[in-house]
Amino acid sequence: MELGQWAFVAAFFVVAPLLPIAPIVLNRLLAPSRPSETKLDVYECGVETVGDTWGQIKVQYYLYAIIFLVFDVEMVFLFPWAVALGSLDFSAYLAGLVFVFLLVEGLVYAWRKGALEWN
């Protein structure tokens, strides 16, 4: 029964990519294609592009990604907790409370260390 529902989702996973592919292919067939040197150039600020594209970016992005990762994993544990909470007693709430507080500690640390600052 459960698997039957997922067959529907699987069908969605097959159909969903086909929907955007169709107009793109149609576009390729219908539209003119006259590539030229300049047309295929990188569009940046009007002058010719300088340097390597895959350049280095700021470490700040990484810091956001790591805080996000930790909180995202936290969700893995909080979703079942939230679903089960209604049928459990108060000690289950305390378990979740401790769990969240331990993680908030990490957020507070990041805040105090300025890892949340965009500069």
Binding site: W6, F8, V9, N27, A31, T53, Y61, Y93, E117
Partner: protein
């Protein structure tokens, strides 16, 4: 649907597959074509907000305007620039649209009409939504363009940041209902809509979702003045149109999901018996939410990126965590009411729980907004002090280090807000 194919003489397994496929194609196509209409709505509403008329040439009130636009886009050249990383470059628009279309699978349209009522529906919504992030990284990397890459990184940083309050505020309805199934969430709202329990969570959910689709005031993604058009700069023709299609479809789906989670979905008078009414209620609610999103879009100016990040990490995330903890505490401390009676009896039985949650939620909102105001006042104070220092030449401007320069910029833009 499966039954029809079985009647036609197909073997049971194959009939199930065909039935599923047809259902999926119909459902997905209907939703995919919706933007043709919502784009017109959006342009018309935007025009009215700006005292214009908007599209008015094609069809009555310009309602058919999107069709010539689509035809025009079909005739535009699909340019594959030199040195692009072809596979990520071409896959990106496809994944972008597919990820959004996949959300449709779990939307309950009426008591009996739903793509599929997964036991993890709400989580499915978040999971599938996170696929768009990958599409953006692929576009940024594949385009072989510094601006595209930079735009993609900014966008991803924004998306992943706002996913945290989004999921936390999604956790709250799940906590109240005790299930991840979308249909169960809607059925729970038979007496009171969830927005009456936790209005603050609803607002956080909507705000973080608007950020997630990169709409104004969170539209740094396409900040024309700084990043040209962000990660989609190198795209043209239909590949470019796909990104826009995905954005508009996602925007509307957010309105639908919001209605399902917080505004009772298909719930309404007689909806239990007449499924069509359910669809109508859901559509009306969704368009009201969509209009609210447009209102926000047309009214507020764009965020600056550091403000955007600070607003998320220092305001939305803490507030939503506190909200989850408070609501969970109330919910597990209160006894389950007796919900076996008629509708009016249940209305009375449910009231104390609802009222207590409502009060708590409003208190959270008031306190957090107070704190925000206090912080803003401090910030204004600090900025005006810096301004005064600069004006009296006490600030080391003459020895222009990098620091002094950037401070001047902060003053220039900061005093305005």
């Amino acid at each position: 649907m499966v039954g029809i194919f079985e009647d036609l003489g197909f073997e049971a397994g194959l009939a199930a597959v065909l039935g599923n496929l047809v259902g999926v194609v119909v459902l997905a196509t209907v939703f995919l074509l919706l933007p043709i209409f919502t784009i017109w709505v959006e342009r018309k509403v935007a025009a009215r907000f700006q005292n214009r008329i908007g599209p008015n040439r094609v069809g009555p009130y310009g309602i058919l305007q999107s069709f010539p636009d689509v035809v025009k886009l079909l005739g535009k050249e699909l340019i594959l620039p030199r040195n692009v990383d072809k596979i990520p470059y071409l896959l990106s628009p496809i994944i972008m649209v597919a990820a959004v279309v996949l959300i449709v699978a779990v939307i309950p349209l009426a008591p009996t009409i739903i793509g599929t009522d997964l036991s993890i529906g709400a989580l499915y919504f978040v999971s599938v939504g996170s696929l768009t992030t990958i599409a953006i990284v692929m576009a940024g990397w594949g385009s072989n363009n510094k601006y595209a890459l930079l735009g993609a990184f900014r966008t991803v940083a924004q998306l992943i940041s706002y996913e945290i309050p989004l999921v936390f505020s999604l956790l709250i309805p799940i906590l109240l209902v005790g299930s991840l199934s979308m249909q169960t969430i809607v059925e729970f709202q038979d007496t009171y809509w969830i927005i009456f329990y936790v209005p603050t969570a609803a607002v956080i959910f909507l705000v973080s979702n608007i950020a997630e689709i990169g709409r104004a005031p969170f539209d740094l993604i396409e900040a024309e003045s700084e990043l040209i058009a962000g990660y989609m700069i190198e795209y043209s023709g239909m590949a470019f149109a796909m990104f826009y299609l995905a954005e508009f479809l996602h925007a509307f789906l957010v309105a639908v999901i919001f209605s399902v989670l917080f505004l009772g979905g298909w719930q309404g008078p007689l909806a239990q018996d007449v499924p069509v009414l359910g669809i109508a209620y859901l559509t009306i609610k969704s368009f009201i939410v969509y209009f609210a999103m447009l209102w926000v879009r047309m009214t507020l100016p764009r965020f600056r990126i550091d403000h955007l990040m600070a607003f998320n990490w220092k305001f939305l995330v803490p507030v939503s965590i506190v909200h989850v903890l408070v609501t969970a505490g109330i919910w597990s401390a209160l006894p389950e009411p007796d919900l076996s009676g008629g509708w009016f009896a249940r209305l009375g039985e449910e009231f104390p729980r609802m009222a207590l949650n409502l009060v708590a939620s409003v208190v959270i909102a008031v306190v957090s907004l107070r704190l925000l105001r206090q912080y803003a006042e401090q910030e204004r104070q600090r900025l005006s002090e810096v301004t005064a220092m600069v004006e009296h030449k006490q600030y080391p401007l003459a020895t222009t280090g990098q620091g002094a320069q950037s401070n001047v910029i902060v003053v220039g833009t900061g005093s305005g807000d």
